[in-house]
């Protein structure tokens, strides 16, 4: 029954997206408003259909309807309800359905928000977005069909992969990542449109930037939460391993970040248009490449939970999208009107942005190379290898550090031409603080060239960024007699996007510092305890108090209990555990994590022998880890500041009629 509902809904969505694509392109070519209206309605109809299909799947999961293939694959009567709900994205076919669902919602929102946009733009964009929708509806209807009827109907299922039901972060991490990945479809469609129509008016570019910033923000959240999940669940005490799946989410983030910077030059100086659009197209292609890599099982990786016939289909789609993008760029980039102004002098803001883009492109290129190298190597030589972390770190560390350095200089650079003296005066305080920071770290006994350089440069970038708030706010406070807090709020409100960007920078600085410190100054030990035994790691002493077993129905918990002492004072109890899921033999650990602002205590249970009560644990005392997640939160806050809609200044009575007002794209 549910199989039928779901399948019908997906076929309806496929039909709607196909019709929407045809009418969209028809509207573009014939400039027909009727066809455009149809295309828009098809977006809403298709979105409604995928919503129905997704709700049908959730209903089947919650009612344990094992006659539906996907429920039989991942459902289990013994799973808690929240696990059952999030099972939608615990395996391949369900996550493709979630993908189609999110794409439908984005497409509907795009059709709604641009319903008054100029006729030149919207039809192309709708048509292209519909084609992507068509592809995913086709996947769900065909090779990735989660609604296959199962006969005979099994009485119970195995439940989702235990690794994925082991932490609450699994509720938000994958959807956030998907919202980022799928959302790149809309900028792609808009970028393609800009090339088709060869129009780059300010409102359209502004709208494109906002549509990029939304998925960029989600992608940021998804990546940070992915690291957090890995830290809280996998038991190795780290958050980033340059795993192909991590790289898959990082690559489009890099190009999207480059775009967020280059588009500022495009908006302000009418320059780098072709380049900005190239970044938009590349970002989308990288999301498809990433999905191909993560979903086809071509790479070994800690996330590879499935292999399926979906790989070749994705590869074909990627190839088509790549050829389409390259041809479109080659054929149409000349049609974009050349920029009105030249770029600035050598020490100008424009140069800063150019350097930024160069660095992000180089970063993308090296990560891409390291990620696809094993694949190319295996198909050429038949030998299986993978590229180790040192390769990525060798490039990532210096590139990342130069980017942070640029963050310290960039905001101080003026548009156009600069006077070297003025620039130096601006940078004196930040540079001095950077040097003092390095000195202070040395005095505290910290060593290592990389972490110290990172702290110094990060301090410089932080002070320069804060200066961007402080200096104009002080001027404003004096001129208007406001308090500093009110003045800062006023300054930020007047240039939300720029200050949102600076807030994001502060979040990045936090993450960079935390990462450098945690990588350099961790105390780590692997220990085997007998009951009553005490051991010291860093400034922490652990005393093993004993083990116990708890039965939770769907899983057994083997728990070891340790009393913690920090600098001789009692600091509570940590209880790392092993979870043994009924239907899986392999135990999954849950490390105990005690976070503080200055350091984390991380205890991961490796082996617990219930007979003689000995417990083997990995213990890490890692500084500043919490700031990684907090920095991620600050980045999100900054994105929200940049995205927050501006209050309309035009009074209602003076508003221009619909057609013209539409040109503003809001």
């Amino acid at each position: 029954m549910i199989s039928l509902v779901g399948r019908t809904a997906i076929l309806a969505a496929l039909a709607a997206f196909s019709a929407g694509a045809v009418t969209g392109f028809m509207a573009a070519i014939r400039r027909s408003r009727d066809a455009l209206r149809w295309s828009r309605w098809m977006a809403w109809a298709g979105a409604a259909a995928v919503v129905v299909a997704t709700l049908a799947m959730e209903y089947a999961l919650l009612t344990h309807d094992f006659s539906v293939s996907y429920v039989a694959e991942v459902g289990s009567r013994s799973s808690p309800t929240w696990v059952t709900i999030v099972s939608l994205w615990s395996s391949l076919n369900g996550s493709i359905l979630l993908w189609a669902f999110i794409l439908g919602v984005y497409l509907a929102a795009f059709a709604w928000s641009t319903r008054h946009a100029a006729i030149d733009h919207q039809p192309w964009a709708l048509g292209v977005a519909h084609v992507v929708g068509m592809f995913f509806a086709f996947l769900v209807a065909g090779v990735a069909n989660p609604f296959e009827p199962v006969s005979p109907v099994p009485a119970d299922g195995p439940g989702p992969n235990p690794l994925l039901q082991n932490h609450i972060l699994m509720v938000i991490h994958p959807p956030a990542l998907y919202l980022g990945f799928v959302g790149m479809t809309i900028p792609f469609a808009m970028g393609a449109t800009t090339l088709f129509a060869a129009r780059t008016d300010a409102a359209w570019i502004r709208s494109l930037r906002r549509w990029m910033l939304v998925p960029w923000g989600f992608l940021t959240v998804g990546i940070v939460l992915g690291g957090w999940w890995s830290y809280e669940v996998l038991g190795w005490g780290g958050w980033w391993a340059w795993d192909p799946v991590e790289n898959a989410s990082f690559l489009p983030w890099l190009t999207a970040t480059a775009f967020v910077h280059s588009i500022i030059v495009t908006e302000r100086k009418d320059q780098l248009k072709g380049w900005s659009l190239t970044l938009v197209l590349a970002t989308f292609l990288l999301t498809i490449l990433g999905t191909f890599m993560t979903r086809s099982g071509v790479f070994n990786s800690v996330h590879a939970f499935t292999q399926s016939p979906i790989g070749p289909v994705f590869l074909a789609f990627l190839a088509i999208a790549l050829v389409f993008s390259v041809l479109l760029l080659a054929a149409r980039v000349d049609a974009l009107a050349p920029g009105r102004e030249g770029l600035g002098g050598p020490a100008s803001r424009e140069t800063g942005f150019l350097l930024n883009n160069l660095l992000f492109t180089a970063f993308t290129f090296t990560v891409l190379l390291g990620t696809v190298f094993p694949l190319v190597n295996e198909s050429l030589t038949g030998k299986q290898v993978s590229v180790g972390e040192p390769y990525f770190n060798r490039f990532g560390a210096p590139l990342g550090l130069i980017i942070v350095f640029l963050m310290a200089i960039g905001p101080a650079l003026p548009w156009g031409r600069s006077e070297p003296g003025q620039l130096l005066r601006r940078l004196v305080v930040p540079a001095a603080v950077g040097l003092v920071t390095v000195g202070a770290c040395l005095a505290l006994g910290l060593d290592g060239a990389w972490p110290l350089a990172t702290f110094g440069i990060a301090a410089m970038a932080l002070v320069e960024t804060l200066q961007e708030f402080w200096i104009p706010a002080r001027v404003r406070a004096r001129a208007r007699g406001e308090s500093m807090a009110a003045a800062i709020a006023g300054v930020v409100t007047r240039a939300r996007r720029r200050y949102g960007g600076y807030v994001v920078h502060i979040g990045v600085i936090m993450i960079v510092v935390a990462h450098a410190a945690a990588m350099a100054y961790t105390s780590r030990a692997t220990l085997t305890f007998r009951p009553g035994q005490a051991e010291q790691v860093g400034d922490v002493t652990l005393t093993y108090q004993g083990a116990r077993v708890e039965d939770q129905g769907y899983r057994l918990l083997k728990i070891a209990s340790f009393a913690v002492q920090r600098d001789g004072r009692p600091a509570g109890v940590v209880e790392p555990r092993l979870n043994i899921y009924r239907r899986m033999g392999q135990p999954i650990g849950t490390p105990a994590v005690r976070s503080r602002l200055d350091e984390d205590l991380y205890v991961s249970l490796v082996n617990l022998d219930m007979d003689d009560q000995t417990a083997s644990v990995d213990v890490l005392v890692r500084p500043l880890v919490w700031w990684l997640w907090f920095g991620g939160g600050v980045m999100v806050l900054g994105t929200l500041v940049a995205l927050w809609p501006r209050r309309r200044r035009v009074p209602a009575a003076a508003r221009v009629p619909a057609g013209a007002a539409a040109e503003t794209g809001r």
């Binding site: 235990p162 690794l163 099982g297 070994n300 990786s301 800690v302 590879a304 939970f305 499935t306 180089a362 290129f365 090296t366 190379l369 390291g370 190298f373 030998k383 299986q384 290898v385 993978s386 590229v387 180790g388 972390e389 040192p390 390769y391 060798r394 490039f395 692997t526 220990l527 085997t528 092993l578 899986m584 033999g585 392999q586 135990p587 999954i588 490796v606 082996n607 617990l608 000995t614 083997s616 644990v617 990995d618």
Partner: protein, 149 residues
């Protein structure tokens, strides 16, 4: 040639050169950062190449070879593929599922003394060891372990 065409051509050539150079630098140091998937026979065949290289060695824990010293945190055992064997010293405690006769993948390197030093040990999830299927490579084995986690 029109000046704009020439300028664009120059730009394209410059970009190609830049990326080519970057690619060359990247791939030339990739060799030492590669991780190899080998079984004991392949490891033996590699000879001195195995010393210092990062290797994921796959095979079965030979019966009667496991020696675990909790006090010194030293775990020694022999990995076999039926044809050849490799002695392994692993740091850290054996994971919960670890036992004789089970399939493992150990990550580490070969020492000049002919002992494999590992700092990462993964257990193939299954109660009894099945010898690798015909054509099942170490990488496939490694992948299936990750899936089973």
């Amino acid at each position: 040639m029109k000046p704009t065409t020439r300028r664009r051509l120059f730009l394209v050539v410059a970009l190609l050169l830049a990326f080519g150079a970057l690619g060359f630098v990247a791939t030339s140091n990739m060799g030492e950062n590669l991780v190899y998937y080998w079984d004991p026979t392949q490891l033996r065949d590699a000879g001195d190449k195995a010393v210092g290289a990062t290797i994921r060695l796959g095979g079965m824990v030979q019966k009667g070879t496991v020696n675990w010293q909790p006090d010194s945190q030293s775990l020694r055992f022999t990995v076999t593929d039926g044809k050849n064997t490799v002695d392994v010293i692993a740091t850290g405690a054996p994971p919960q599922m670890f036992r004789e006769g089970i399939g493992v993948v150990v990550e580490g390197t070969m020492t000049p003394e002919g002992v494999f030093k590992s700092d990462r040990l993964m257990v193939k999830h299954s109660n009894e060891y099945k010898p690798p299927k015909e054509g099942e490579s170490v990488e496939d084995m490694y992948k299936s372990m990750l899936e089973d986690q």
